[in-house]
Symmetry: C2
Subunit: 242 residues, 2 copies
DNA sequence: TTGTGTATATTCACTGGTTGGTATACATCG
DNA sequence: CGATGTATACCAACCAGTGAATATACACAA
């Protein structure tokens, strides 16, 4: 609670974030995190019950900023919904060119904990992906009809996570753009208004619902309060590694 | 290589396959593999130079059978190419319901070795995925005569690998079927023959030229340079880092 | 048949190092 | 004082990989 206490905890989280994301959770020892944070392992264990707790905290920290980034990219893009969705992929493609980019931390963690489905980090990862999907779904509901929105959101998510995996494997950002093109095509195939005029549509045309414009500008939180934080006594299996 | 030698090697590979796929390569020790194979660790090291060699061999074994399975599912399915592609996803969805299913071993290994791009297992994994993509590409070229076959094959691969990741995370096979529907929709959108409406694609446009693949964006990008098309072919092989 | 040489195949016991996690004590501060 | 942090030192378990000895198979000679 003290000032030094909070900053220490955040220093640990920052070090853990860099190391876990950069090298993988099993490849990083608690000692390495402590050393990077500039303190002793014992101090780390004062702030976090276990390595598993630290892993969960590492993902939890990244949850909201990640979704917020998607929303920002979507909001700042011009064009219709399809173009805005594609803009997310385009921004992501730019990110993947950074040498420190290592795919999606949530997916990678879920792979490393594949046999611990109840691990708190897995719960957080699933919740995060669901949150992105729900946000996309709400976006599509506003622009299209209800029924296909869920399926469409899922398919965009599939392309997104597929691109994370494939670009990480091949280290070729063009896959991310191919995914964006596919996503835009899927969205456009379900859009009600025939987009014949290519030129005028720079800014959203005022289609029927006048409220969706305002609704689009101000993004409502997908759900009031997230995070069923808890099950702190998880204490699942150990993560051993060379 | 006497008779016993080969069978011993295969016993090791079988044990390694079950353990590596079931629990992950970093979670499984060499001792565990040796014990499961019913021999000593020293014997294992007689047949394989190192654990990394064993990992590579584990993936190499699965390369051809995996692709052959896709080809079989494709060949045995009825309907047009889109339906045949969708059949792959449907068969895969059935596979994911098996409790021992743990996603794609190639992708999972690439995640665990994310910082060793020159690792032999990574090379094998990339080659495998490329092989599946090339096969799909040739299917689209031969059966439909598509010029955009390469891009289409990549997008189907993206949906495939995305489904592997997402189904593994949520343990919900319906994502695999959603991916299949999306893939079929993408394929069908490029098929030359007049198409009948099937399933998901309810709203159907009647535009002839499938120009969406050529990265046309229906709306002009705000700034001049939309995206820098990277080298479409050629995956850069980064030099190994220890 | 028996003996011997040689390459293959396998085992036991071990190394040096790392792992997640602790016991204990010391420090700082309201 | 007592609560909150931090540090030194330590643990038992586990890790990938190895040295030295041995067991087995087979080829060839006497």
């Amino acid at each position: 609670m003290s000032e030094t206490g909070r900053s220490t905890r955040e220093r640990i989280l920052q070090a853990a974030g860099k190391l876990f994301y950069g090298e993988g959770i099993r490849a990083v020892s608690v000692d390495a995190v402590a050393e990077k944070a500039g303190l002793t392992k014992r101090t780390l264990y004062y702030h976090f019950r276990s390595k598993d707790d630290l892993i969960a905290a590492y993902l939890e920290v990244r949850d909201q900023p990640n979704l917020a980034l998607f929303k920002r990219w979507f909001a700042e893009a011009d064009g219709d919904v399809a173009a805005k969705v594609e803009a997310i992929f385009r921004n992501l493609a730019r990110s993947t060119r950074h040498p420190k980019w290592k795919g999606c931390g949530f997916l990678r963690t879920s792979v490393e904990l594949v046999n611990l489905p109840g691990h708190p980090a897995m719960v957080i990862g699933r919740a995060h992906k669901k949150r992105v999907e729900d946000w996309l779904c709400s976006v599509f509901e506003d622009a299209i009809g209800l029924r296909e929105a869920r399926q469409l959101a899922r398919q965009v998510i599939l392309l997104l996570d597929g691109a994370f995996a494939v670009v990480l494997l091949h280290r070729d950002p063009s896959y991310m753009e191919a995914a964006g093109a596919a996503a835009a095509h899927l969205v456009r195939g379900l859009m009600p208004t025939p987009r014949r005029s290519i030129k005028v549509a720079k800014v959203r045309r005022t289609v029927r619902p006048p409220d969706w414009l305002t609704h689009d500008r101000a993004f409502p939180p997908p759900s009031a309060q997230p995070m069923d934080r808890g099950t702190a006594a998880g204490s699942r299996a150990r993560s051993a590694a060379p």
